[in-house]
């Protein structure tokens, strides 16, 4: 038996990339990105959809944080809200329904230089993606996850979602839903998320504050952002909109965000509930744990080229 023919090494750059020289750009010379520079496709959302505000606030975050253009990494699954990456003029990925978190985890773990922001809907997060939500949270993979919760399936046009309240009438529950909805905050705390916050698209300053706090968190940061579907669930969150007679009650300053049980209890506050950071704790991230293993094993193989490390293994198989 002989070695098979191995193809010659492949270049990563091909004719679909312009090879014109690019002038170096020092970080210090960079100006904050403008809204124009950071917007891509015009959003396809219905006029009045809550998701517009979330997008606008993501732009604000990028601007305020002076994020480097190429480092902005936006990932989503499938749903109205999940179309998010098309509207951001930056590297982005629109993956499959419910699986944005494992995709983003692959980016986060293999590219520690990037902070990945994931956007999606309540169905994407808690129904088809429920399993991934639990495991990404418990493993504390470093990324930010904003669930734009409209309590309905928007893209597929009005079916019951896992956060639809009891009695909600949809095309699949014409008599009103009977199933107990998921409480995303409790779900996140129980799963082991290390940053758990709740906000509403109708309160821009609050959304931005939550996004900034999430970005600063070293770990899995989760934000439930109420975002109204004007098409299929109009008025869903009026109870939390002061100008519509509702109340926007924030989590009290006295609340100890490191107290898991207190946070869990707070999450049971009667509708429309409280807004703010419920829970925040520091636990080693998966990213850091993996890096520690790498450092340890690479230390033992110090000074060896990859082929020499492999050669050592092969010596033992003779």
């Amino acid at each position: 038996m002989t070695e098979s023919a191995i193809l010659s090494l492949v270049s990563q750059r091909g004719p679909n990339t312009s090879t014109a020289p690019v002038a170096p750009l020092l970080d210090a010379d960079r100006k904050p990105l403008t809204k124009k520079e950071i917007s891509a496709d015009h959003p396809t959302w219905c006029p009045g959809c809550g998701d517009f505000a979330v997008l606008a606030l993501y732009f604000k975050l990028i601007e305020r944080r002076k994020m480097l253009h190429e480092k902005i990494t936006t990932v989503a699954g499938i749903g109205c809200s999940s179309r998010f990456p098309y509207f951001v003029q930056a590297h982005g990925a629109h993956f499959i329904h419910g699986r944005a978190l494992p995709f983003a985890s692959g980016v986060s773990l293999s590219r520690p230089d990037l902070h990945v922001c994931v956007f999606g809907g309540d169905g994407d997060a808690f129904s088809i993606g429920g399993n991934h939500f639990t495991h990404t949270a418990r493993k504390n993979i470093k990324l930010t996850y904003v669930v734009m919760d409209n309590s309905v399936y928007g893209l597929t046009k009005n079916q019951t979602s896992p956060t639809s309240p009891i009695g909600f009438k949809s095309k699949t529950d014409i008599w009103g839903s009977k199933d107990r909805p998921i409480n995303p905050i409790k779900q996140a705390i129980a799963a082991g998320a290390t940053f758990v916050a709740r906000t509403s698209a109708t309160n821009p300053n609050h959304v931005l504050a939550m996004m900034e706090a999430a970005m600063d968190h070293d770990g899995f940061s989760f934000i439930q952002c109420l975002s109204e579907c004007v098409e299929f669930y109009p008025g869903a969150f009026d109870a939390a909109i002061p100008r519509k007679g509702g109340v926007f009650n924030e989590v009290s300053k006295e609340h100890d965000v490191t107290d898991e049980y207190a946070a869990y209890k707070l999450a049971d506050t009667a509708w429309p509930g409280l807004f703010g950071v419920y829970y925040k704790t520091q636990r080693p991230t998966k990213n850091a744990n993996e890096q520690a293993i790498i450092n340890d094993l690479q230390g033992k193989a110090a000074g060896l080229e990859p082929w020499q490390i492999l050669k050592k293994n092969f010596e033992r198989m003779k």
Binding site: E70, P102, Q298
Partner: protein, 600 residues
């Protein structure tokens, strides 16, 4: 055993060039360990070796066998019939005596099988040697762990029977058992020596191998799963994700253990969907990543695989086939995933499928898969099977300094970039990893929706037509670049056998056997399963019959999965199938007999 008797007094010593040894017992007896030692010894003795084993699917153990074929010349299969059977129990004796050649030798544990219980007809047909393996082991090493060490005692017996290189075996045993407690290695050596020094007075014959042919060649000995995993590392893969399932798990366990040494990692995920998704995310991160599974896990991956086809993302998916559908036959061999590997998923989703044919080929195919995935920006399925995954072979140590490659992503800024550029002369997508600055300010998006050249969604019928063609044509281009298959045997004749994956060895051996008997038969092996290389039609034209040998069902059309695929390329009724679904590897004679019968 091809023997040439040497004129010596009892017991007679015969020179042999190869031997098939079957060891039968329970899995907890360390059967695999003895087989492994024999295989490794053969590797160190410049011999060719191939093994075959069955593993019970229950964890508490159960009947298990390990068969080793050691040859001084080329070894293509694990052997149809054994020259020697080593039976630890009554049940192993009964179940496996039939695999022994008439006149073959059976060594049995006389603590478990009484000589008087052996039927007289067996005594006439096979040569029996009873050794009180269990009690002699206890005597040699002290009666602590029941049944512990009798495998090593038996290895000593075999070493004596086959005049194996004792210093080399002693070294192997010492390497294997040297750990925290020096007593362990000492005990192992005691058991071995007891077996070796046992007076095999009743042995009818002793054997001696002629020197191996692979002289001066440094060989490594490993399983197909190991070779594949190390091939991926050599190719530069540094990220993988998976979920446990037999027989794929070994690959993930090895990568989990090894990748951090190279600065990489392997993630055990919550399920197979998460693992393929994570691997795709890492691929997008700039360096092609791996996921894999077996059986049901492959079904779960198909939606995400379709995304990788649509987004044109490089990705390696390992499918270690086992018996299906559903949970099927988890520890048996089958080649019934060809269709899902080539076509699994909805929509038109062309991808590459490569089927390694041997342990060595697993190593090099993994490297090729990575190179193809990167060059054509496509998912590549590495389609192996339970047999190739678990069997052990010796092969020439690869020139690692030459084959190990660095595929660190290039993040240097570019002026402008269109991932799905329709006017690119080579028609191939290349992605920019996130973190790459695009001076034009126009950043690409990767998506599962049909898209324009920058990755933004489109409902344009024209673009869909163009993009579908783009995804297909780049792989047609690959097909044209693939090495053309070559005929094993003369280019013209009566029968052409077609093999793919692990059936290559037994098919070639069947060709040799049938040619020796005067039949005009040849074979061709298809390594690149999908797309297929050019040149098969010309090869087929030289033969009256074309029989595709594969381990799957003949289906409604009366032809196996590869047969169907070939017929879709070359619609010729002379292409027929030799298929089976008994969950066992091919026997050489079985292939030959069926081919000759069908050609009659």
């Amino acid at each position: 055993m091809s023997t040439a008797a040497s004129p010596q007094s009892s017991p007679r010593i015969s020179k042999i060039s190869e031997a098939v040894i079957r060891i039968a017992g329970n899995s907890q007896d360390g059967i695999q360990a003895i087989g492994g030692f024999l295989a490794r010894l053969a590797g160190r003795s410049e011999q060719e070796v191939m093994t075959f084993m069955t593993i019970p699917s229950t964890i508490s153990g159960g009947p298990s066998i390990f068969q080793v074929r050691i040859g001084s010349g080329e070894v293509l299969s694990a052997g149809d019939q054994a020259d020697m059977l080593l039976a630890f129990y009554d049940h192993s004796y009964k179940a496996h005596l039939g695999s022994l050649k008439p006149g073959g030798i059976v060594i049995y544990d006389s603590d478990h099988l009484k000589a008087e219980d052996i039927p007289a007809e067996n005594l006439g047909k096979y040569r029996h040697v009873g050794v009180a393996i269990s009690s002699l082991t206890v005597e040699a090493i002290g009666g602590t762990g029941r049944d512990k060490g009798k495998n090593v005692f038996a290895l000593g017996l075999l070493a004596k029977m086959f005049d194996l290189n004792v210093p080399k075996l002693t070294r192997l045993l010492t390497e294997r058992f040297t750990g925290k407690d020096p007593k362990v290695a000492e005990t192992a050596l005691n058991a071995f020596n007891a077996g070796y020094n046992y007076q095999l007075a009743t042995a009818p014959e002793l054997f001696q191998f002629t020197p191996g042919e692979n002289v001066g060649q440094s060989q490594v000995v490993m399983s197909g799963n190991e070779a594949l995993a190390y091939g991926l590392i050599a190719a530069g893969v540094r990220f993988g994700a998976g979920y446990p399932i037999t027989p794929w798990s070994d690959i993930m366990e090895l990568l989990r253990r090894e990748l951090p040494k190279y600065g990489g990692m392997f993630q055990q995920c919550e399920d197979e969907i998460a693992s393929i998704s994570m691997a795709i995310g890492a691929s997008w991160g700039g360096r092609v990543a791996v996921t894999g599974s077996s059986g049901p896990g492959i079904s779960l991956k198909t939606e995400a695989l379709g995304w990788a086809v649509m987004a044109e993302m490089p990705l390696i998916v390992v499918d270690v086939q086992r018996g299906g559908p559903s949970t099927g036959m988890p520890t048996n061999i089958e080649q019934s995933d060809l269709n899902i590997a080539c076509f699994g998923g909805h929509g038109d989703s062309p991808r590459v499928v490569i089927g390694p044919s041997s342990v060595e080929d697993c190593f090099y195919s993994a490297i090729e898969a990575v190179d193809i995935a990167r060059k054509y920006s496509t998912p590549v399925v590495l389609l192996t099977d339970q047999g190739i995954a678990t069997r052990i072979e010796a092969f020439k140590e690869p020139d690692l300094q030459r084959v190990v490659q660095d595929i660190t992503p290039d993040l240097s800024p570019v002026a402008d970039h269109k991932p799905y550029d329709l006017s690119a002369p080579d028609g191939i997508t290349r992605h920019l990893a996130p973190g790459t600055r695009v001076a034009s300010g126009k950043y690409p998006v990767v998506t599962g929706l049909e898209h324009d050249e920058l990755g933004h969604p489109t409902g344009s019928p024209k673009l869909h037509v163009q993009m579908v063609a783009k995804r297909r044509n780049k792989l047609r281009k690959l097909a044209a670049e693939l090495p053309k298959p070559t005929v094993f045997g003369p280019a013209e004749g009566q029968i052409l056998l077609v093999s793919w994956g692990s059936s290559k060895g037994p098919v070639q051996e069947a060709v040799k056997l049938a040619r020796a008997a005067g039949h005009a038969i040849s074979s061709v092996h298809i390594k690149y399963v999908h797309p297929m290389p050019h040149g098969l039609e010309e090869i087929f034209a030289g033969f009256r019959h074309v029989f595709v040998v594969e381990l799957n069902d003949e289906g409604f059309a009366g032809i196996g999965q590869m047969g169907g695929l070939l017929r879709s390329h070359i619609p010729d009724a002379k292409i027929r199938g030799i298929t089976k679904t008994d969950g066992l590897t091919w026997k050489v004679k079985e292939i030959m007999d069926r081919a000759l019968e069908m050609a009659r």
